[in-house]
Symmetry: C2
Subunit: 261 residues, 2 copies
């Protein structure tokens, strides 16, 4: 089974299904999004859409309301095609242990979501995820998916890995493989068997190449659609990995095992 382990909701929904079909993807782990850049066909509209993120950050739009709206959109898309999608639900950043538990109960478990993310802490903020690690453990170790490309420094990533070490039953997926810090990240996760590596946002193919060579059972194919396409992301891995059995695990087996698909 080919599983795209990380893509955002694309509109219209038929387009997402068509992209999956193009790439021969059987299932997608779907994440919410507060913006829809894929619906914009020129640069000015695309930028205006991105700027809505700033409106949310700056309080021009209500962040909580936007998150709940995007979560409802995700739940609906997943519900319409339960054989195609599994959802990972978003959570506000910086909640207390109790608040995390309440949100997880109300918005994650009730929707049948199988993990939490995309979490996108700012630099200097990753340690604040500790109450979420605790809450995840409490509800049966829901996987956490954290964006680790910029703006995170390697120091931020190390603090995140410290939490993974402290809560070894909680699966932690490092989105984008540590970004520009991929080499140090690969060295740092050696003994952390609850840490998994998402292979999207590949600016050099050397990164997924070594990631898969070192951790063939902990690396996940993912498109991060709409920021890449499932077909392109799959093709990069097919052109990078020579061993067919390893490739099969990376393209689906590994995430299937983690999520018991």
């Amino acid at each position: 089974m080919i599983i795209d382990s990380h893509a955002h909701v694309i509109l219209p929904p038929e387009r997402q299904l068509a992209l999956m079909k193009d790439a021969g993807v059987n299932r997608t782990i779907l994440f919410s999004t507060t913006i829809h850049p894929e619906t914009k066909t020129n640069m000015a509209d695309f930028e205006a859409e991105l700027n809505q993120l700033y409106d949310i950050l700056n309080g021009v739009k209500n962040p909580l309301q936007e998150r709940v709206r995007s979560l409802a959109e995700l739940a609906e898309v997943v519900k319409e095609n339960p054989d195609k999608y599994l959802g990972f639900g978003p959570i506000p950043f910086g909640l207390s242990y109790q608040e995390n538990l309440e949100w997880i109960s109300k918005y994650i478990l009730s929707n049948g979501f199988r993990g939490i993310g995309e979490l996108a802490p700012g630099s200097g903020q990753t340690a604040k995820l500790e109450p979420l690690f605790e809450a995840s453990m409490e509800v049966g170790n829901l996987p956490l998916w954290v964006h680790t490309f910029l703006p995170l420094s390697f120091d931020d990533i190390k603090k995140l890995l410290y939490l993974a070490k402290k809560y070894p039953t909680v699966p932690l997926i490092l989105g984008h493989l540590g970004g520009i810090h991929w080499l140090n990240t690969l060295k740092a996760v050696r003994d952390l068997e609850n840490v998994y590596l998402d292979l999207s946002a590949t600016f050099t193919t050397i990164a997924p190449s070594f990631a898969i060579q070192e951790y063939p059972e902990r690396t996940f194919f993912s498109s991060d659609a709409p920021y890449s396409s499932p077909l392109t992301a799959r093709t990069i891995l097919e052109q990078t990995v020579a061993d067919k059995e390893v490739l099969e695990q990376v393209l689906g087996g590994n995430i299937a095992r983690l999520l018991k698909i």
Copy 2:
């Protein structure tokens, strides 16, 4: 004709030719390199090879000597397959106008190289390239190829574009499309017709997609091998660009026109 507009010397040379053949690349614009990470098959050796760059920066190895050595290696590879390669030669950073002219005469023109690069200024340093723009103009407008991924800020890129505006006959190739600043970079080069966009190091396919849509005559296919493969870089563009005529220009026509190949 399919032209990979930016790749570094790969050892052994047969491997580079094989990678070109795999990708159906007819010609490659070849750049020197002081290190050969492609010869390393495990992460520790790869890191040791990268660390040699620090030895050069820190003066443990003589930077000028390493540059001259890499330049000779490039010249030899190009000379052995003049129907496959055109060279771009390196130049030390921060030379005066006169020193630039001397280096260009001694190492660039004498080897038949067709441009200068890869230039990799640090943040805050791009304005120091002005004497090189002047020298390039003096010798007939040799194209300059500048790395614009990290560590450059968008402010650094703007200073570079100021030089492109001041020296409108000197072709400037923005390596890696401005990196994480790709959207601002695309907006900033609108009226600078001597500025070209290198499409390597694609961490999101939205970047080359808009770059090509906006500047179909100024965008270049490039692998940045060994950091990606020519086949992967070509495939990404083939999967991103629907218009076959535009694709043909991006895959070769545009760089052929600039370098009169």
